[in-house]
């Protein structure tokens, strides 16, 4: 009974915390400058793209540097579809996700047979291929000139034209995807993923289809990355190949590592760092790439759980009041 009561109060507290977070989230843009809201919008876009990378790395042990490519596919698909073909925006966004998913499946089937170093370097090679193609396929991408005049998203006559308005589009999307990824993680599929990460041989015996699950998660991550890319294109309304270079791939990876690959909400923290840091450092010149690289090194060595893991540890320590969750005796 006491345990039940305790869990009920715990639920109450988390519920109240959620409401508080929600209120702060709704109110935030009213108190911030335009440039600060702009940073938060980018944080939202990067959270979405970073989620895919983080989940792949944390739950499947796949280091993916290819996300910049899928992000680019989403952006170009919607830019080309709306400006050249004149298709409706939602159709273009879905199209971008589909194209991304199909390419991810075609590439993923052979490439995901690799593991460890080979896999990571293969995804890096994919990112480079994507970048070169974005540059060379000028008739779609506009090459270095890029594509301009990408229309703003509007819903029921409401146009998401300013950072202030876009904030209320990108964050509900990001929250929905955070929730979806958490659901996935807690489902039997999520358990299967963690199982195959821990002991692939035993997972195979349990009937978990390892190879095809990896491809599916990769495809999902690519589609989510393309969605983020589409949002980006509609937000900035001009895109060029510079937005989809290797440093973008590094940025997404850094989001995952900093946020903590086992922590889904941690991604937001990682994304906030990656968007805010360059902004405040820009007066020092091109210093943020160096900062990102050093942050990646330091985080991998000293903070393997990322911000998310760090907070979870801290939370566990505080709530147990020094008591360690011990294994029961006997047996």
């Amino acid at each position: 009974m006491t345990a039940l009561a305790r869990s009920a109060t715990a639920h109450l507290w988390t519920g109240m915390l959620m409401v508080a977070v929600l209120l702060v989230w709704v109110a935030l843009p009213w108190f911030l400058s335009r440039s600060a809201i702009d940073i938060l919008v980018f944080t939202g876009i990067y959270t979405i793209a970073g989620l895919g990378v983080s989940f792949l790395l944390g739950q499947c042990g796949i280091v993916s540097l290819a996300q910049s490519g899928f992000y680019g596919i989403g952006a170009y698909a919607t830019a080309y579809g709306t400006t050249v073909l004149g298709l409706p925006i939602p159709v273009c966004i879905v199209l971008g996700m589909l194209v991304s998913a199909v390419i991810a499946a075609a590439v993923g089937v052979p490439v995901l047979r690799l593991s460890g170093h080979f896999l990571a370097l293969a995804t890096l090679a994919l990112a480079i291929i994507a970048h070169v193609l974005f540059l060379e396929l000028e008739w779609i991408t506009g090459g270095t000139l890029g594509i301009g005049g990408i229309p703003r998203i509007s819903l029921f006559g409401f146009t998401f034209a300013t950072p202030f308005r876009f904030y209320y589009l990108v964050w509900p999307s990001a929250f929905a995807l955070l929730l979806a990824y958490s659901l996935l993680l807690r489902s039997r599929t999520g358990i299967a993923l963690r199982a195959m990460r821990d002991a692939p041989a035993a997972a195979a015996v349990a009937g978990i289809p390892i190879a095809s699950l990896k491809v599916r998660i990769f495809v999902l991550s690519a589609a989510v990355g393309a969605f983020a890319g589409s949002l980006f294109a509609h937000y900035v309304s001009f895109i060029s190949v510079d937005s989809f270079a290797i440093d973008r791939a590094i940025g997404f990876l850094l989001i995952a590592v900093l946020g903590g690959v086992r922590s889904i909400p941690g991604t937001i923290a990682g994304a906030l760092f990656v968007t805010a840091a360059p902004n405040y450092l820009s007066r020092l010149g091109d210093i943020h790439p160096l900062l990102f690289a050093l942050a990646l090194i330091v985080a991998v060595i000293f903070l393997p759980g990322g911000f998310g893991g760090f907070m979870a540890n801290l939370g566990a320590k505080l709530s147990s009041g020094g008591r360690r969750p011990s294994a029961p005796a006997g047996g």
Binding site: L183, R188, A195, A199, A327, P328
Partner: protein
């Protein structure tokens, strides 16, 4: 009784090393079949071939009347084959309960997209798996460890988790590689009881061990030595066989 598993003339080499030399035997439905043999006899290699981790150089594996020699591990799992490993392979970061939920994987249908969209059947399957897992936790006496990561359990408990995980998959044929190694005498007694019960409920068991005591629960045994079956029969016949005694006690 019909044969659930037939091993037909299986030979295997690792490079120049001839580990199995034309091994044949059958496992009858409903039996507890034992496979004994000294270290390096090729027992684990045979298990890897039966469960699909290795393809034999020569010979065939027939599972439930179907040629399974080239079928994948997961395919054999879906056909009703489960195995454990000589060094227990638990999902270390998963709690005991989650280990068993993972063991139920082959009963479910939902995939990545359904889970991502949070469809109701995902939750239903999860609930069903949890019920099965909790029953197994009860049965295998793992209650105190339910929410403990399996990697933190003592070796004997890890073996139980592995066994329970195989059992919740409801196999027709359960293959156990040295299930008693690392267990205390008391734990071995419990293990034997559990295995007897499972067999009474209709599960066919193939047991590899060099522990003669454990072999008391078998109805038929084969002795493997340097990749060949040197004797077959009941436990008593084995104990009496001079070749087995030589292979075992002579070394």
């Amino acid at each position: 009784m019909s044969a659930l598993l037939e091993v037909r003339e299986v030979s295997h080499r690792f490079g120049g090393l001839h580990v199995l030399k034309g091994v044949s035997f059958t496992v009858e439905a409903g039996s507890v079949t034992g496979l004994i043999g000294p270290n390096g006899a090729g027992k684990s290699t045979l298990f890897n071939i039966i469960s699909g981790f290795l393809t034999p150089s020569v010979g065939r594996i027939v599972l439930l009347g179907e040629d399974a020699t080239r079928l994948g591990i997961q395919h054999r799992s879906r056909m009703g084959l489960q195995r454990t490993f000589q060094t227990p392979q638990v999902f270390r970061d998963l709690t005991v309960r989650e280990n068993l939920v993972a063991g139920c994987h082959r009963h479910g249908r939902t995939g990545v997209l359904e889970a991502f969209l949070g469809l109701p059947q995902v939750r239903r399957e999860m609930r069903d798996a949890a019920i099965v897992a909790d029953a197994a936790i009860e049965r295998f006496d793992l209650g105190p460890y339910r929410d403990v990561p399996a990697g933190e359990l003592p070796a004997g408990r890890q073996r139980m988790v592995e066994l329970a995980r195989a059992v919740v998959a409801e196999p027709k044929l359960l293959c156990l590689d040295e299930p008693s190694s690392g267990l205390s005498t008391a734990e071995v007694q419990i293990l034997m009881q559990v295995l007897r019960r499972l067999n009474e409920e209709g599960m066919t068991i193939l047991l590899v061990s060099h522990d003669m005591e454990l072999m008391e629960i078998t109805s038929k045994m084969h002795a493997l030595c340097f990749g060949e079956i040197i004797a077959s029969g009941s436990l008593d016949a084995m104990r009496a066989s001079p070749r087995v005694r030589e292979a075992y006690l002579g070394t």
